[in-house]
């Protein structure tokens, strides 16, 4: 018997995840430092001119986000292992998808926050402009939100999958990176198109990103709860 409906239950889980994170802030800090390092290391290997970085910027940025996402998502399930708290969550009279949705939203906020923090740093390092607001920055934020949501949706499901596997820290990126091919292609190319002069937002990329988000969220809703069985 479900006593709480999906959304309030998911928000409760979200609040719990946020509270947990803000007590230590370790996941966020480590992720931000990680992305910063990847961005810096890229410039050692490429040393791009302003024109080149406009062309490759989207790719560099999304590769960094993808790596960060594939490394930061594992704790969302493994840290429940310590005190067997996932079992306690499962006993709660809520839809199992609410646990999923709550964790998904928390991961989404964490990664998006790290990305927003690093976007201006990236722009400075690679001599890119994020303005004008309506033509470039807002569409860029839209791509960031849609791409990150897809990344985190697949990532949260796969974190639950790899939580029970050997070599799980290595397995999660393997599972995630190949499945995220559509997200990487559409997010990276549209970011590059938005950094170009004049900026433009390719409609196909938006359609692809939204399709990925919808298909994977629906699949998580239909099949995700099987992952919580003991």
């Amino acid at each position: 018997m479900l006593t709480t409906s999906l959304l309030p239950a998911a928000l409760t889980i979200l609040a719990k995840e946020l509270r947990l994170e803000f007590r230590t802030r370790e996941l966020l800090t480590t992720t931000v430092v990680f992305v910063l390092m990847v961005v810096v290391l890229f410039s050692f290997t490429f040393e791009p001119t302003a024109a080149e970085s406009r062309r490759m910027g989207g790719g560099l940025l999304w590769i960094a986000f993808l790596f960060a996402g594939s490394l930061m998502l594992q704790p969302s399930f493994t840290r429940e292992h310590t005190n067997e708290t996932l079992a306690a969550l499962r006993l709660a009279p809520i839809d199992p998808f609410a646990i999923f949705l709550g964790k998904l939203l928390a991961n989404f906020l964490f990664l998006l926050f790290a990305e927003l923090l690093l976007l201006p740093v990236f722009a400075v390092f690679y001599d890119l402009t994020l303005l004008p607001l309506t033509a470039r920055l807002l569409p860029l934020l839209l791509v960031l939100i849609l791409g990150t949501f897809g990344l985190v949706t697949a990532g949260t499901v796969f974190a639950a999958i790899s939580a029970h596997a050997r070599l799980r820290e290595l397995l999660l990126p393997v599972l995630l990176l190949i499945v995220l091919t559509p997200v990487l292609i559409s997010a990276a190319l549209s970011t590059s198109a938005l950094l170009a002069d004049p900026p433009e937002l390719p409609g196909t990329a938006l359609v692809l990103l939204v399709s990925f988000d919808v298909v994977f969220l629906t699949a998580a809703w239909l099949f995700g709860e099987y992952l919580f069985e003991e």
Partner: protein, 247 residues
Amino acid sequence: MAHDTTPTPRSTLDLLATPAVAVLFLAAGYAALFVAPTERTMGDIQRIFYFHVPSAWTAFVAFFLVFIANIAFLTGRRPHWDWLAVSAAEVGMAFCTVVLITGPLWARPVWGIWWTWDARLTSTLVLWLLYLTYLLLRTLVDDPARRAIVSAVFGIFAFLDVPLVYMSIRWWRTQHPQPVIAGGEGSGLEPLMWRVFLLCWVALLGLMVLLIRQRYRLERARHELAELALAADERVAVGKGSGHSGT
């Protein structure tokens, strides 16, 4: 689960299936090499197409079977579906590998390069990597029940990803100049070529069914062995327990 320790007797259908597929395969090979007309511009090289493209279609059929088996397993929880899923995935990988090997063999003399990041090539490579990942995941989860569940969920996600991968890669390719002349097979096959092509596909599908069946048997045998080992362990444990109480 019934503890049936006697090996299942092979039906006459089983006995006939292997020679039938062998004959079909020989006929397909003969037809592709000697019956099909020589292509005007590519010459004999083009004949690899009769095994290249049907292998791709057969791999798609096998991966679709994986998807069906994954859904059936999650909804019904009968281990048979998990055995079918892993069998079809491995056989599909074999056919997909054939596609990725025969493609460059054809591309080198015709296009002048082994590999290009063309939409179809890239999509096939990503498909191959997706199911490689599926099989890799299965090796890293020890508990059979857990393995069946998580790999079924991943298999469903991987299959749903395929059309998105295909569309995004096609869009990605149109964003960049094509490095390679278009063409290849595609537009309009000669009727005789079509017939040879379909014969080859039927032969490969036959081979696929045969291989999946063999692999499924192996998976079932492994499962039975594990259950027997477990039962034997229990018997030893019980024997020891009663021995202790006797002394």
